[in-house]
């Protein structure tokens, strides 16, 4: 039939064309397909910058060089590929095995560069360029890298950035070699900070030299984050804590803004960014002082005498005590067969409530606590946010510990211990800061705020946080006033005298947390607390200092708080500058 012939004829023509393309011209096209190399070069988006509340960068970026391998452009046969890797290893003093492993993890013909070593020196880059013809598939890429003002500055707050680890890769949200925020704000805000990588499609010749740009997409840098941190205060707090292990939290009682958060010992944040060798990592993880731990939110301590503020508040509000009630303190208190001692040998003599706060008299508060009752004390403690998360944005916040006594099964001895913040009660420094802020502002429980707003690089607002009130503590104004006055007196005429600064009205309370189960190394070394706010009228800042195994709060923590308060109110240091 005609149609069958027509189709057959068409097929003959097609076969003729195939013969022409594949057999006659096949060699030429094979050449063309071999030369058909397109290199896809990702252009890493600069990570968003974290600013302090005054717009000073807390962390910045700087271009850095990264050694990358492009599997598809490495020689195909194993022998010459290994020769190239060997040359790289010798040239840049990188362990040969590391290069082998990096290549083995990905498909042999994949385009995306495998990042082998970050932070190349200019010398290294020059070597790579010089040897380029002998190193097919080896390139030095430019990638933005995090830079920090100083090695340990705000390390726990900011957090470190590292390549996605195996776990994160398994979740499938990250590509291999991608930089991911691993702790602190870098982790919390990673999806905002990371931005969107751009890329170029470049045609390259057999030598890997770019022939022409085919396509380009611009990287979009990550969002800018304005934190509540005040870099100057953070720096002052870190300086004041030098040589001590512990934590400092500085908070604005008017809105819950965290102005500074220090945890010591800190880790060297810049050493964590990029490549860290295994032994250095193990040293950090196994360090007995746990430098990776953010003590301000992740460590729990007995609140000790700071808790007396709460006992006083409960006692006055509940009518268990009046400011005029007095107690004779002889240094000892007997409950059944048990004897509870005051910290001061021989006692404080006759004390009223204010005096008891100023002198931090244990005996007075043992009795006050018993009058109020354990159940009521715990109710007040919970109202002030103890035993529950503060809602701070940082991950891994500890809740503290607050018992749930019922009326029958709660031994009076426990109440006695609780009255001076010992026993079955644990708090984090951030919880204490919020507690002090609530006392300072007259009952408003602010959620601690670290992030004010996040802005896209084009100016669009991604997120903003106007502050959030988590609750109120309703006490009579007279009680608030009494607490503030007593705390002022504690600094000006009592245990907190070491925090006094002429010309500034400071209210504060010391605390000395006794360590149970003392090891030899820390024998006799109690945790030292000092919690303060200032100025007493219209408080602007709360400063909480905790020194682990520091000794007495008034002797160790109060002077540190004094340094910080002095810096806040009297030192006008030029804003910190990011080293670049």
């Amino acid at each position: 039939m005609a149609i069958g012939l027509a189709v057959t004829a068409a097929f003959v023509v097609i076969v003729g064309q195939l013969w022409y393309l594949q057999v006659l011209e096949g060699g030429r096209f094979l050449d063309a397909s071999d030369r058909n190399r397109i290199r896809i070069r990702p252009i890493a988006a600069p990570r968003g910058i974290l600013f302090d509340r005054h717009g000073v960068p807390l962390v910045d970026n700087r271009p850095a060089f990264t050694l990358s391998l492009i599997p598809r452009e490495l020689p195909r046969d194993p022998a010459s590929r290994d020769a190239v890797l060997g040359r790289v290893a010798a040239l840049l003093r990188i362990p040969y095995q590391e290069l082998q492993d990096a290549v083995a993890r990905v498909q042999a013909d994949s385009f995306p560069p495998v990042r082998v070593r970050r932070g190349l020196t200019l010398e290294d880059v020059a070597k790579v360029e010089e040897w380029r013809l002998e190193l097919p598939g080896v390139i030095a890429e430019v990638e933005p890298k995090r830079v920090y003002p100083t090695s340990r500055f705000a390390a726990h707050l900011l957090g470190y950035v590292r390549e996605a680890n195996e776990d994160q890769l398994r979740q499938g949200r990250y590509r291999r070699g991608e930089m991911v925020g691993q702790s602190g704000l870098e982790r919390l805000l990673d999806e905002h900070l990371r931005g969107q990588d751009g890329g170029e499609r470049i045609e390259v010749d057999a030598m890997g030299r770019p022939v022409r740009l085919i396509q380009q997409s611009e990287p979009h840098s990550g969002a800018q984050v304005v934190t509540t941190v005040d870099g100057r205060i953070q720096e002052a707090a870190e300086r004041a804590m030098a040589g001590h292990a512990g934590a400092v939290v500085v908070m604005d009682p008017r809105n819950g803004d965290l102005l500074a958060m220090v945890s010591t010992p800190a880790f060297e944040i810049d050493r964590f960014t990029g490549t860290i060798d295994r032994s250095a990592w193990l040293r950090l993880v196994q360090d007995p002082h746990f430098p990776l731990l953010n003590r301000a939110v992740q460590s729990q301590y007995a609140p000790a005498s700071i808790f007396k503020i709460l006992v006083a508040a409960a006692a006055l509000q509940e009518g268990s005590l009046t400011p005029a009630d007095r107690t004779q303190c002889a240094g000892e208190f007997h409950l059944g067969t048990a004897t509870f001692k005051d910290w001061k040998e021989g006692g404080h003599g006759t004390v009223d409530l204010q005096r008891a706060i100023v002198q931090s008299c244990n005996i007075f508060f043992y009795q006050a606590g018993l009058k109020v009752g354990g159940v009521t004390l715990v109710r007040y403690a919970r109202a002030f946010g103890f035993g529950a998360p503060t809602g701070i944005e940082l991950q891994g916040e500890k809740y503290g510990l607050m018992p749930r006594p019922d009326r029958r099964g709660w031994p009076a001895g426990e109440t006695v211990n609780l009255s001076i913040g010992q026993g079955a009660v644990l708090v984090t420094p951030t919880q204490v800061a919020r507690f002090m802020a609530t006392v300072a502002n007259g009952g408003v429980l602010w959620r601690p705020r670290l992030v004010q707003r996040i802005e896209r690089s084009d100016g669009g607002l991604v997120y903003s946080d106007a502050g959030q009130v988590n609750g109120h503590v309703e006490l009579s104004p007279v009680v608030w006033e009494f607490l503030r006055r007593s705390l002022w007196a504690a600094v000006n005429d009592g245990t907190g005298a070491a925090a006094r600064i002429p010309g500034l009205d400071i209210a504060g309370k010391t605390g000395t947390a006794q360590i149970i189960g003392k090891s030899k190394a820390t024998l006799g070394q109690d945790h030292a607390w000092f919690a303060a706010f200032a100025p007493v009228k219209n408080p602007e800042v709360v400063v909480v200092v905790l020194v682990e195994h520091g000794g007495r709060g008034g002797e160790v923590a109060a002077p540190i708080a004094r340094k910080i308060l002095n810096a806040i109110f009297f030192e006008r240091v030029a804003a910190i500058e990011v080293r670049g």
Binding site: I3, V7, I14, Q17, L18, Q22, V23, G26, F29, N36
Partner: protein
């Protein structure tokens, strides 16, 4: 249940059926090689799934008496037109073309199935008593059944599928006895209308035709497909590069490599020898088909010839899939239904 006559079973054209199945298997294998070392073999699996669905449709169609299907042609044709209209109204856009209707996890391309309905409709009209004897009246009666869907499909825009309708119709008319003089007249009129068609074409469609006339007009733009396809096919040489060596296809230099350009992938992998074997299969299928039924076979034949022609650089790129090979559920379904029709006709030819 469908009652199956034993005589019908004896007359099943197993060679035709086997050839079609073999082509689909080659398709699934080719698609699977594209995913070697890449993320998942999803495309090949979906193609295989559609093959199963298509096989069911094939069996159903083969069991039905094709005469009943021809009688139902007007209804099916209207249904097809309704589908095309629906696409026009609420279709999903993929790279600038509205060709699909999304139904949950699958998207359907009504124009593919419509092609089969169109052939049935054309057969119904031509064999109806009003159209006898075949002559000028028949031509005038049949042209609108191609023109209406042509307008709808070209709006999607899908130039290839739209243009496909006319040659199929012409082949049917000639087969029914249309005089060559009349045919010549119709073709001349069609050619005269071409400048008009130029006005309807989208910019990219015009560009493709210009590129066909001069491939180096814009080597990284419109001509990119043609050049890369030629490189892919040519570099396969006599024996092919094998699955791993077929870098043109696997490394995505070749656009549309799952769909319209799947033949180029096959050609790069298996070379001239492989191509020859594949073309023999198609030729066998088509020649056997022409022995059974002209309309449905010409539908397949025109698509095969145009697709191979455009992929090898003999024809401009108009976006027609290669039946049974190109990735695409609707195309696969339509092709297997067409084969089912051929089987149905064959089974009942000796009754």
């Amino acid at each position: 249940m469908l009652r199956v006559d034993r005589r019908l079973l004896q007359n099943v054209d197993w060679a035709l059926f086997a050839t079609a199945c073999a082509l689909v298997v080659v398709s699934v294998m080719t698609l699977a090689t594209l995913s070697v070392g890449r993320a998942g073999a999803a495309v090949a699996l979906r193609q295989a799934a559609w093959f199963v669905v298509g096989l069911l449709a094939l069996v159903v169609v083969a069991c039905l008496d094709y005469r009943r299907l021809v009688r139902a042609a007007p209804a099916l044709y209207l249904l097809g037109l309704a589908g095309l209209t629906l696409v026009y109204m609420l279709g999903r856009s993929v790279s600038g073309a509205r060709r699909w209707i999304v139904l949950g996890p699958i998207s359907v391309q009504p124009s593919e199935l419509f092609k089969v309905f169109f052939v049935l409709m054309a057969v119904w009209v031509i064999t109806s008593r009003w159209a006898q004897p075949v002559g000028r009246t028949t031509l005038v009666m049949t042209l609108p059944i191609a023109a209406v869907p042509f307008a709808l499909i070209i709006k999607q825009p899908d130039l290839g599928t739209a243009l496909l309708l006319f040659p199929v119709l012409m082949i049917l008319l000639v087969g029914a006895g249309l005089g060559l003089r009349l045919l010549g007249g119709a073709v001349a009129a069609g050619l005269a209308a071409l400048p008009l068609a130029w006005l309807v074409l989208r910019d990219y469609q015009r560009e493709r035709i210009l590129v066909f006339l001069d491939p180096f007009r814009d080597p990284l733009g419109s001509a990119y497909n043609v050049i890369q396809a030629k490189i892919a096919i040519g570099s396969g040489q006599l024996l092919g590069k094998g699955v791993v060596g077929a870098t043109q296809s696997r490394l995505a230099f070749l656009p549309e490599r799952h769909t319209d350009f799947v033949f180029a992938v096959f050609a790069e992998t298996w070379g001239f020898v492989g191509c020859l074997a594949l073309l023999m299969c198609y030729l066998l299928l088509l020649l056997r088909g022409f022995d059974i039924a002209l309309g449905v076979t010409s539908l397949l034949a025109v698509q095969v010839v145009i697709n191979l022609g455009m992929v090898t650089g003999l024809l401009p790129i108009v976006g027609i899939p290669l039946p049974l090979m190109s990735y695409g559920g609707s195309s696969m379904l339509a092709s297997l239904v067409a084969i089912g029709l051929l089987l149905s006709v064959r089974m009942r030819q000796f009754q």
